[in-house]
Amino acid sequence: MISLAGRDILHGWVRFLMTGFGLGLLIGVTLSMAGIYRGMVDDANVLIDNSGADLWVVQQGTLGPYAEPSSLYDDSYRSILGMAGVARAANVTYLTMQVRHGGGDVRAMVVGVVPGGPGEPGQPGFLVAGRHLTGGRYEAVADVKAGCALGDTIIIRRNRFRVVGLTRRMVSSGGDPMLFIPLKDAQEAQFLKDNDMLLQQRRRTALNPLFNRPGVPGLLDAVIASQTTSVYVNAVLVQLKPGYAPEAVAKDIQRWQRLQVYTRPQMRTILVDKLIATSAKQIGMFLVILSIVSAAIVAFIIYTMTMAKIREIAVLKLIGTRNRVIASMILQQAVGLGAIGFVVGKIAATLWSPFFPRYVLLEPGDAIRGFIIVMVISVLASILAITAALKVDPAEAIGG
């Protein structure tokens, strides 16, 4: 038996292909939406993996440092280093801000780290050009996504930084590129006030009789000095010695240091289930709507194509064609349209995903799931047309 669906498609292949192309663009958008969600999850995982930490020590009662603000004294790491199982501990600050560069600005996550070598907690894991931060001030290592080149100057608040190294795939959970700068500079950027504010603060402190007592020389200077020195960090990143369970060490630090400690799985849960949960739901809604729109479009196209063949279907039924042959013809066309749409959509999504400002991760598993969903939608969408075709009276071919 010849394929009636195949012959019909070949007969009007240009129209069929164009319809499939249009549908494919819609499927491409749907696949891209799924890719954006996967990219967000991957960004979160990359943030955790690239930090090089086994534990995140943050302010008690907070979900810091990524999901909530957190402040610790910058000498906390000393006592943490003394805990059993702790191999390395390093202060770190995170601040997402607009960084001026090349006449414009770029949104970036500024990370303050203690200058050191690769492998230290919080340091960029690898460089694609230049060198790591080595201890000098006002130097930066930037993710290539920030658009910086080696030797470029970037401005953070009042200070200028020279880009000495470039890294790749170091982004925040929001997809912003990271800029690594020395911890002291980052503390200034995050906690220090501007000159006018400092003057105001000094004036107000001097007017306070508690701090400006005639009988206590040096008190006012000490108070002002404490106000203009930043002693806070957002978190202490901890690497463990081999053989120590992260949960056990985390419990000890929480108990003795009265700080909040998160392990990798806990931090992953915070980032994926809490920080990007709303965005994920938003994308999920879009996916549902796009699936419904795709189904409606396939159903409408197949229905229109079937209605255009109503006389031929009546003739086919009159000359003895079984319902299943007619239903199969419509079903095959719907599935064919879906298959063309999927192929076009997959190619389109692959081609345009690098141009998205956020990372779009097109996973093969999502493509397979997408293909199955498109096929199911195509089958369901053909039901309307099949129902209409099976209702066609063969007597319509005779007329009268």
Binding site: M1, I2, L4, R7, D8, L10, H11, G12, R311, E312, V315, L316, K317, L318, I319, G320, T321, R322, V325, D393, P394, A395, A397, I398, G399, G400
Partner: protein
């Protein structure tokens, strides 16, 4: 199912009920022998199409008896369960417009019926080609229907009607869109085929050009048929008889 042609006795068809009851056929009697071609004429609304639909097993009559070949297909109710198979294997249809399947080429339009009956594609196409040769359209076998002239399309439609060698062919105004020469050619082909395949053919027509070619004509008026010898009568005469 061969031999004996078509026999219809007291065929009735009612539409609606109560105040809307319409007796489309009030007791039609007809007999067409194998290899015979008869005309069926009548004014609009006389019941021609209803009779054709009943004969074609497309609508169910209300009463009466129908026999195709040696098999009684209707006797107060359908005697055949699979009406699609009955139409596919025993009844050929030729319409006013050829209604060829536009996405199949000529040979596959004809071969489709045997393929639907389960015949292998090669054998079905071979049989289709033989018929197309007999009808002088084999040279257009690979053409699409839209590329054919009206006469060629109608010959392909006749080939499709004949390909399963049905004992009966029902033709509804098969010459209406054709000029005189082509119309007479189509009737000649149908006559040849009727003789060659022992097929009983009923042609519903208003076409004055072809009415004189029938040996027997059935007039249908107000749901009843009247038989009359047709050959030799002028078209005007027949139309007058019809209007009387």
């Amino acid at each position: 199912m061969s031999g004996n042609g078509i026999v219809i006795e007291g065929l009735q068809k009612r539409y609606g009920s109560g105040d809307t009851l319409v007796d489309a056929l009030k007791g039609v009697d007809m007999q067409v022998a194998p290899a015979e071609v008869v005309g069926l004429v009548g004014p609009s609304g006389s019941g021609k199409s209803t009779l054709l639909k009943c004969l074609g097993a497309v609508i169910e009559p209300s009463a009466g008896r129908m026999r195709l070949g040696e098999q009684i297909i209707y006797d107060g109710g359908w005697k055949i369960r699979d009406l699609r198979a009955l139409r596919r294997d025993n009844i050929g249809f030729v319409f006013q417009a050829p209604y060829l399947i536009p996405f199949l080429d000529v040979v596959d339009n004809v071969a489709l019926l045997p393929m639907l009956a389960g015949e292998r594609n090669g054998a079905a196409r071979k049989r289709a080609m033989e018929l197309l040769e007999a009808l002088d359209v084999a040279h257009r076998a690979k053409a699409m229907p839209a590329q054919l002239s009206g006469g060629e399309q109608q010959r392909v439609a006749i080939a499709r009607a004949l390909v399963n060698h049905p004992p009966v062919i029902l033709a509804d105004e098969p010459t209406a869109p054709l000029d005189s020469q082509r119309a007479l050619a189509v009737i000649a082909i149908l006559n040849d085929m009727a003789r060659q395949y022992e097929t009983a053919i009923i042609i519903v027509t208003h076409d004055e050009k072809i009415i004189p070619t029938f040996k027997r004509i059935y007039h249908i008026r107000d749901g009843r048929t009247h038989e009359e010898a047709g050959e030799g009568k002028s078209p005007r005469e027949l139309i007058k008889t019809d209007k009387a």
